[in-house]
Symmetry: D2
Subunit: 277 residues, 4 copies
């Protein structure tokens, strides 16, 4: 057993004081989600008082039933294939063992503690409330945002692209945006992200990428570019409003997905952490 080493810089930074931003959404029955995935449901099989122990103690518990791509979540590389191949040219059939994605499953996503960059696109474009429904965030928009903010995503970082659409989460169905379309990067914006060799990209929408009005999830090129071609994870339905409002574009990013063996994604509650000024 190696001796304990004093983790000085990190713990020192911690004692100086940190502020934590919650980038995840609450999971509640009826929250807006894609209809392609099992709805989030929750119930209490047992409430306090249903059974009381000999010493007056009682417990309540839960059952949840849900898809992994509902609410704030991360897509594993097993989630999307193209022409039958997953990332790295792996045949999607071969990735399965006993009916689960032993290869590239959600359990293979390493927990992330790394530099995070928030690209507040609407702020950079002068429309801080948010981009229009169905607006495609272009390579030029992303570059302009980097320029304005002075923060470029680097290799191994996580980049979060704010569209402002997250403001509609509380409204429910409008957030899903099937008819209206939803703003986000398109294929070229995804390539721009891939060129930066980040480990993951996140957005404040259900589908991460731009959805044209009425198009639904018919074709998702950014998913192909990121998950299949580049091995870059996608994080969806994030809450980026508070972080953007506070003006933090560079931070310690943490995401610890549930290690769901052989799954195609995991619900997650990412955090952005900054030193207190």
């Amino acid at each position: 057993m190696s001796p304990s080493r004093a983790p000085a810089p990190l713990l020192a930074a911690l004692s100086d004081g940190v502020e934590v931003f919650d980038l995840g959404r609450q999971y509640a029955v009826g929250m807006p989600q894609s209809p392609n995935h099992p709805a989030y449901w929750h119930a209490l099989p047992r409430r306090h008082g249903d059974m009381v122990r000999s010493d007056g103690g009682s417990a309540a518990n839960d059952i949840i039933s849900m898809g992994t791509h509902v609410g704030t979540h991360i897509d594993a590389l097993s989630h999307v294939s193209h022409d039958g191949k997953l990332h790295g040219g792996l045949d999607a059939e071969d990735a399965l063992t006993g009916g689960r994605y032993e290869q590239l499953g959600a359990h293979t996503i390493a927990p992330m503690v790394c530099r995070g960059v928030l690209l507040d696109v609407p702020a950079a474009l002068g429309t801080p409330n948010g981009c229009e429904a169905g607006y495609e965030i272009t390579r030029a928009d992303l570059e302009a945002t980097v320029e304005k903010q002075g923060t470029r995503p680097e290799e191994g970082d996580v980049v979060l692209v704010r569209s402002g659409w997250g403001r509609l989460f509380a409204e429910g169905a409008p957030y899903v945006g099937g008819a209206s379309g939803v703003p986000g990067v398109g294929e070229d914006g995804a390539r721009w992200i891939a060129e930066h060799k980040v480990r993951a990209a996140g957005a404040d929408t259900i589908a991460f990428e731009r959805l044209a009005p009425g198009a639904g999830h018919a074709v998702l090129p950014a998913h192909r570019v990121l998950l299949v071609e580049s091995g870059i994870y996608i994080i969806e339905a994030m809450d980026l409003e508070e972080l953007a409002e506070a003006g933090h574009h560079e931070f310690l990013f943490m995401l610890s997905p549930l290690a769901l063996y052989g799954a195609t994604g995991s619900p997650a509650r990412p955090l952005a952490v900054v030193s207190r000024g």
Copy 2:
């Protein structure tokens, strides 16, 4: 909107290099868990190839069904009551709104980024592999461990108590330990923890506290002392072996529970992060 502030100490510590220890267990069908909670089940409603988009793309997805107190998880303060009261004297009935614990539910657990302390009790006691089944970790054991390690949990920290029982996780049923009993703190050890005013306490067993052989979960005094009396969260079924092996007793602790509205707990994958020496 305030200008972006350079989060220097934290990000500087990050660029110096960090090492991340995964303190959570994998979730897989058949993993050992308490029979009192809905079993973890997972399936892929859709596999690659079931449906192929016009551009050759295909997606796979998941459905999961589980209790929140299975695998590595955190207990919310809504989980345990005593004589009909939750923490703070709140009547358990009053905590419910529309059939969910609006008060003290899992959604009220703030994400944690704080100092963590690992108390490697068996190492301190000279039996590094682990404590015996049914062994009660006493106040004296905890103090001796603090003495030996030179790391005392402070107010607001998270304390993790290693019993070594986590080594049995891979064996399945023996880890549940109904007949054999399971090591852990008892009522007095829980009081010692409470006196330190930590925000949460974790262990490498399903029930966190000591279970006498054959006793099952009949009476759980440590849960009452911590959750009900002290408002201290409990984290269960952690994997502390690697962290203990590496000799890290003090670290940045991170736990970001899923904000499950009105639930009594949440699956979680805590992390211990240290600066690279």
Copy 3:
């Protein structure tokens, strides 16, 4: 042990030939249902080939997650209360044991093999395709239908009220009818049913009773009259089209609900059986 008795009339009728009408709907992901209940979801955890036995055998299996009031189903007397009371004046709290409705739960519904009467209301009213959205089937309509058909429901029978709305099932959302309203009996029609002392009443709509346009399930008087006041079960989302088309208004009715302990309802697939002419 008593000797075997020859069940002559029933088996004789069987050998003469019977025709079976399926009065239930298929359960499939995405089928129209009330949003108040957990959605029906199904997946195959295991498909053929995932695991192969030593002799070349393989098996596939399922996981389903659903509410009990989705698709064709029967409401137990534990489903609806009024001013805190269930049928028979039983306090709804007292009906619970350990968090389940030990009293009046779905497990208390005796399997039904009895006379069934189909009241084809639109046919009797001269609009055989169906009643209008939001139309209230009145006491007069029911009497007129009995007159025309010459079949009156008697004590212990099951009465099925066709509105014709079932034709919309295949269309999905329109069948739910929130905005349009849905035809069915109102409070007085329910009283007419109750006066006949039937054991159950069924309809070809999700909510059984008339929904005014836009009203949703805000107030459901027929449920109160039947379940709470009269102890008469309600069967919803039936498929009555084929039976009506064939002109059978009197038949052997069979419904065998799943004995789900302590539940408030059960999915079911009722049958109407007639002798072949």
Copy 4:
């Protein structure tokens, strides 16, 4: 629309009086089942009082999560394959559409109203309480039972084979019988059944066929003979005690499975109906 025909023989038999025997088991959390299938779980998302309507009405509802092969259920022909083929030589892969068994799925099982024959094997063998654990019911045993009872299963009937093992259901784990073995037909008994060209065969055990002590479900030849080779459905975990006790060996059998699209089986509650003597 054809005129209503008077279904005289069947309804006449009904009015003469019938007795209904429930051949299904109650579904409750913790009931004995095969560990290979998702456990039956049930909870009430809403209890009376959680929400109260403007008129004082309130409702309670359910969520259930379960495998289809738990409790009393019927196996569809999509459940078992041999060397990659389902019944009729259909390739198991070809039977799938969009990830579900469009061909031979549970939704293709026609509701059954037909003659049923109970073969009370232990009674015929002089051990009326039941067969021994792991006992193989042979072709000779089945013939002897037919001889003794004077009731032979004919083409299109449903045959129910009582082993008496159902008496252990209430004991839980012993009923599963992994270590002890479970009585039932073996391969040759299954062939005997198949030769009679019945439409389905049922038993009072979880696995229908004989399990040798400690063998588990490693190889199940009767499943192959019946489902794959003969297209005969299998009904498991039935309750045959009351029917046997009453001495009814011939009756009207009814089973109406839930039409679960693309599934491999369905929970069901079969009935045996006889005329009152």
